[in-house]
């Protein structure tokens, strides 16, 4: 009985720590993009370091949570879904780390006129993922509130799409001074930022189905 209680407590703490990591990762990513756009390369390097450490911690937690759930037969009926949810969330932080690293390697030349647009896309994309975390936490404590919390994820994802579309339109139709390779590079960078909200939406779809199953 004591072993159960200890394992349960540890697992709950680990899941909470995992969610904290993702939330922190989202903040770091947002700040990282801003520091790159403002050309503050020192802060940008610190943010890259931070996100790498958060991502590696999230990976360690993900493996540990899955191991504990299997070895102690915890949540046998929901284990596969909980593991998938954690994997989807881990993919978000993986993607953020990848994006910041690509900024660092490719050093995209972003015209300052696009700064606000990119900041807006980042804000909306990160907000979609940020709204996912309370919903994921709610799945474990009050699953009947999950669906209403997920509404914001879908809203921010659609806003990200709208902003990204208009920005790409500006790049390809209004900025005649840029060559095609430059334009393609910018589109590729926007796609990377936008991907966070897409991943958040995928996780939201999964979470929504999980919540229905558990409430029924």
């Amino acid at each position: 009985m004591t072993v159960f209680t200890r394992t349960t407590k540890n697992l709950i703490l680990k899941i909470d720590e995992f969610f904290d990591n993702i939330e922190l990762g989202l903040l770091v990513f947002k700040e990282g993009i801003k520091s790159y756009l403002l050309n503050d390369m020192e802060a940008f390097a610190i943010h890259i370091q931070k996100i790498e450490s958060l991502e590696s911690n999230a990976d360690r937690l993900q493996r540990s949570i899955e191991n504990e759930m299997i070895t102690h037969s915890i949540l046998p009926q929901h284990r596969a879904e909980v593991s998938s949810l954690i994997e989807e969330l881990d993919e978000i932080i993986d993607s953020m780390k990848g994006s910041l690293n690509e900024f660092n390697i490719e050093m995209p030349d972003i015209p300052s006129s696009l700064n606000n647009n990119l900041i807006n896309i980042t804000e909306f994309s990160v907000s979609a993922a940020e709204e996912l975390i309370p919903a994921a936490r709610a799945y474990f404590k009050s699953p009947h509130t999950v669906r209403e919390k997920l509404l914001k994820v879908y809203y921010y994802e659609s806003e990200t799409d709208t902003f990204s579309r208009s920005t790409r339109k500006i790049i390809f139709q209004d900025m005649k001074e840029l060559d095609l390779a430059h334009k393609a590079h910018l589109r590729y960078i926007i796609h990377h930022i936008e991907r966070i909200s897409d991943l958040a939406q995928e996780a939201a779809d999964l979470l929504s189905a999980m919540a229905i199953k558990i409430v029924m």
Binding site: M1, F4, T8, I12, L75, I214
Partner: protein, 413 residues
């Protein structure tokens, strides 16, 4: 010779253990909430406890239906019941040991010219119907309470599952106790009037003649649980596993409550003391109660399409099993009496009670009691050793798991 006569009852006990343990721990074992080893040990211990402590009530009711007064008769009845259960299972027909044994007793009554007590028979048949209905009502009530509690308490899903897991072990133990208390009459009930064993006094407690028989029956059920119930759980457990873990807990608890209520003479006397009618002590089918509980949860969840085919099959079983068992008993008793010249019983009022006591030789009864006494002692010692062994085995496994985890993370770093 006495042991030979008991073999049919022990076989019936074995098949009951092998089949009915899946109703208690099937969902927990199949969903790997509890290991089969742990479930088998808990179920075995509590089945024996239930049979010995509380098995008397339901046996008395079967005795009222027909007091089988010769060992040959008891042997034949138990054997025929086991064969009926086997035949019905072979043809995939829903069957209950309870209904088979009741049919066999009625068959014996016909053969020996004893009268079947209509009042007791009506009581038993009504309980077969009311058992699943009460099970359904309990399941709905318990499920409602659990759902409301879960929603209002906002317990973390993992913590809630851990409570459910511990709850399934506790409720499983209670279920096993109730199963032993209620269903031991099916296994040993027909032997009780024909046996008159010496009382065993161990100091801490004493065992009467019927309790010694219940102990043997309980051991047979436990043997069935340990040797064969895993296969049954793997085969039929999937029908219950599809329920959520809280529904599984509710189903097992509701079933255990129903079995307990219909075997608790204490509860019955409390009701009579406050002017309410007594609860009939009747062995009922745990499988049919489980079906009632599952249907109850389905109704609560708003299921519109209740499978009336299953309900029809159960009702068919209420009729087909006793009829088949009764007919088989009648013909088997004829063969046993006329071909093997076996004493299968007498019309109750044609022989004096003293003559009945002489059916078993006193010396043989005393030997039997000695065997049970040493068996009990052996069981206590073996049980203690097994518990100590598994405790250390479990500790070793935990230690190795921790070590391998530490090594894994060390290598990653």
């Amino acid at each position: 010779m006495i042991l030979f006569f008991l073999t049919s009852g022990l076989f019936l006990g074995w098949s009951l253990g092998a089949n009915d343990a899946s109703n208690i721990f099937g969902s927990a074992v199949c969903s790997r909430i509890v290991t089969f080893r742990k479930a088998a040990v808990i179920a075995s211990v509590f089945v024996i406890l239930g049979a010995v402590i509380q098995g008397g009530g339901t046996s008395q009711t079967l005795g009222k239906l027909g007091s089988v007064n010769a060992l040959g008769g008891s042997f034949t009845l138990a054997l025929v019941s086991a064969v009926t259960v086997y035949i019905m299972t072979k043809f995939a027909l829903p069957v209950s040991t309870t209904q088979a044994i009741v049919g066999a007793i009625i068959g014996w009554n016909f053969f020996t010219g004893n009268q079947t007590d209509g009042k007791t028979l009506t009581q038993i048949v009504l309980t077969w119907i009311s058992g699943p209905v009460i099970g359904a009502a309990f399941a709905i009530l318990l499920f409602m309470v659990l759902r409301r509690f879960k929603r209002s308490a906002q317990i973390h899903l993992i913590r809630f599952e851990s409570y459910i897991r511990n709850g399934l072990i506790v409720v499983g133990a209670f279920g096993a106790y109730s199963l032993g208390a209620n269903n031991i009459a099916n296994v040993m009930g027909v032997f009780v009037p024909a046996f008159n064993l010496q009382e065993i006094d161990i100091g801490l407690f004493s065992l009467s003649s019927s309790q010694q028989l219940f102990l043997l029956g309980g051991l047979a059920i436990a043997f069935g649980i340990i040797t064969y119930s895993k296969r049954v759980m793997e085969t039929v457990g999937s029908s219950i596993i599809e329920l959520s873990s809280e529904a599984a807990l509710v189903v097992v608890l509701a079933q255990a409550l129903v079995l307990f209520i219909f075997s608790s003479s204490g509860l019955s006397s409390i009701l009579t003391s406050i002017g309410l009618p007594p609860i009939p002590m009747v062995p009922i089918s745990s499988s049919q109660v489980i079906i009632g509980c599952v249907i109850g949860i389905g109704l609560y969840k708003g299921a519109r399409n209740i499978n009336f085919k299953i309900l029809g099959e159960i009702a068919g079983g209420w009729l087909a099993t006793p009829v088949l068992s009764g007919l088989l008993t009648f013909f088997s008793l004829f063969f046993m009496k006329n071909i093997f010249s076996l004493n299968v019983g007498y019309k109750t009022d044609t022989r004096a009670p003293d003559d009945l006591n002489n059916i078993i030789a006193t010396g043989a009864a005393s030997d039997m009691s000695d065997i049970i006494k040493y068996l009990l002692l052996g069981l206590l010692i073996t049980g203690t050793l097994v518990i100590i062994f598994f405790y250390f085995l479990d500790r070793k496994k935990q230690f190795e798991l921790r070590k391998s985890e530490e090594k894994f993370w060390k290598n990653i770093k």
